[in-house]
Amino acid sequence: MLMTSSKNVRRVKVLIAKLGLDTHWRGAIVVAYMLRNAGMDVIYLGNAMPDDIIEAAIDEDPDVIGVSSLGGAHISLGKEVIELAKRMGIYESKVFVIGGVIPPEDEKKLIELGYDAVFGPGATEKEILTVINQKLREKGIL
């Protein structure tokens, strides 16, 4: 809703990907719909490995990169996404969020690794939109 409130605000562009081999795409699609309905441009990449995600991020130049993981690879592959982003020099100019089935003790770890936000199974539409917008402002993207 925040994105559509003012005509002067440019549309936020989001890239969403399923991390690695994980096959549960329901959550990623639901979030993609939420963001689209809030007036954002959404690209759904499908399943991708970290290097494909960063490659697509360089090509598409989104403001937000969201990765979804329900298969247990959030730390191993999730870490690579951030490391690659830093190496390619796109980490500071984009918001990185991760969501899925993530044990509470791993949430902290992901933030330490460099994610701007972590969304668990109970995250609501309002929470996701508020946090993304807040992080966009914090990083000076909006």
């Binding site: 690695g20 081999l21 549960h24 639901v30 759904y44 399943n47 298969g71 191993s76 609501t124």
Partner: protein
Amino acid sequence: MFNEARSNMVGRPEIASYVEDLAKELMENGVSGALSKRLKAEESRRVNLYNEEALKEIGEKISSWLERRLSEEDRRSFKKAPYLLLGSKERIPRPLISTPLDLKDIDYVRDIGFPGEPPFVRGIHPNMYRGKKFTIRPIVGFGTPEDTNKRIHFLLRHGATGINIVFDLPTIQEYDSDHPYAKGQVGLCGVAIDTVEDMKALFKNVPLNEISISLTTHYPSNTMILGSMFLVAAEEMGYKWEDLRGTVQNDPIMEAVVRTSPESLPPRAIFKIHVDNIEFLRSKVPKWNYVTYNGYNLREAGVDEIVEIAVAFSTALEASLEMMRRGHRPDDFLDRMAFFWGIGNDFFLEIARMRAARRLWYRITRYILGASKERSWWCRFHVQTSGISLTREEPLNNIARATLHTLAGVLGGAQSIHASAYDEAYSIPTEAAHLVSLRIQQIIQEETGITDVVDPLAGSFYVEWLTNEVEKEVVGEMDSIWKIGGIINAIEEGWLHRKIAEFAYREQVMLEQGVIKVVGVNVYKADKTLTPPIDVFRYPEDAEERQRRKLETIRSLRSKERVENSLARIVEAAARGENLFPYVIDAVRERATEGEIFNIFKKIYGIWRPRISI
């Protein structure tokens, strides 16, 4: 040889043109049109169960009852849409009461009949659970095959009568345990299988001629590979293929729609391999169910109960037409077709739709496909209680949910059941949770008397009316699929992906708004301290390392040349348009790995990206 036998049957032009006409008719008139044309003669013989006079009196009485007994508000909301998780919501609004008026022209013999006889509404066996108890078939799979083998023996010792193997993500997605994509995921969510040696370790000391084994292979492509490994393992362990009982999943919807992967084969290639599997397994492993159309995972991804059946039946119908194009008569293969339904919260609808599914599948196989043997008309199915309906909050409540779901499965006449474990939202089941899930089923079987009477809800005005409504809705969905040109076209055009995405999003909104209620989550939220602590399953340590070392040893011991030759022969067979199964079997015998065979498939068919537009 298998391929020679087949070549004697193909090329019968009259069959080919018959199938083409049938496909054209389905696209033009839908399943509804094809059925009503063929059932016309039946229709003229109908005998109404309720007589005119009785119906007239009920009609008069109900009007006055509505006036006298119900409030204005009750009358206005007489029909109510059930907003339940994974449910069809507004599609079939429920009346406050059902009466014979909802079944005005019901004909007992033609619409309901007797168990073990057409139209099989009441069950496929005359004595149902008195004759054969439903199979208690728990899911199992984690770590290495050696780890899972221990749990299989635990389950068999405690009364499991079948086993349902689940594989880890690299195995399902067809990568070896030492592939870079597999890193950190070996043995998670399922057991790791790379070669036939793993299959032998998995089933060590399991009597494969006595226990029926379900391999939850999901995709047609990995069904061909893992199925081959199972067959070669069984053979090397001294069993004959004719004696093996069990199932593979082999569902093209799973490969092209439900599960996504970094590298998917194109839908048409998937469908070709799907039919190759049916053809090979039906002829070589006669007691084996060569397919289990998996409505469950599609439903959990995000469709309602109606679409779940409609998609499974549409795929089954299209595969049957393809088998006929290849020269097989419906009665030669339909007897081993099986289905797999998810059981969710809409209790009576779940029961009604299993009854409706049996009647509709009977009508499709008999009247559209022209099958004439009774077994070809059976809609046999396994059910699993819904996983997505289980909550992380207050996990013991999930025992109540799984019990209700299991009960619906039993009242619906399922052949085999897995009750999901209460710790589903935390991890794969601990031993304790696994045991409770077995016990739910054993309590229903042994302590309640529920299984003594066949189809006890038959004749309930509500259940019979719901059964009719579900059947109509499923036929309607099948018509829309055929209008797009059949299920494969519907997938290529993104129809099914769109359907899932829209449904899942709408449910999420309804959950957040509290329209769909979940106890302990969005209604009756309790203090966290009321929830007892829960044990979480811990994966065995070093599974990945152990699995990689084993794979390395196998690679070093086999003949590289023989493996390469066997893989090259798969490519050649594909170029000749042959069934690929026998060639995959040969490669597996040479200790080719799953990943190596999948690479060959990718080389032959290329990679496809599904159309998911946001």
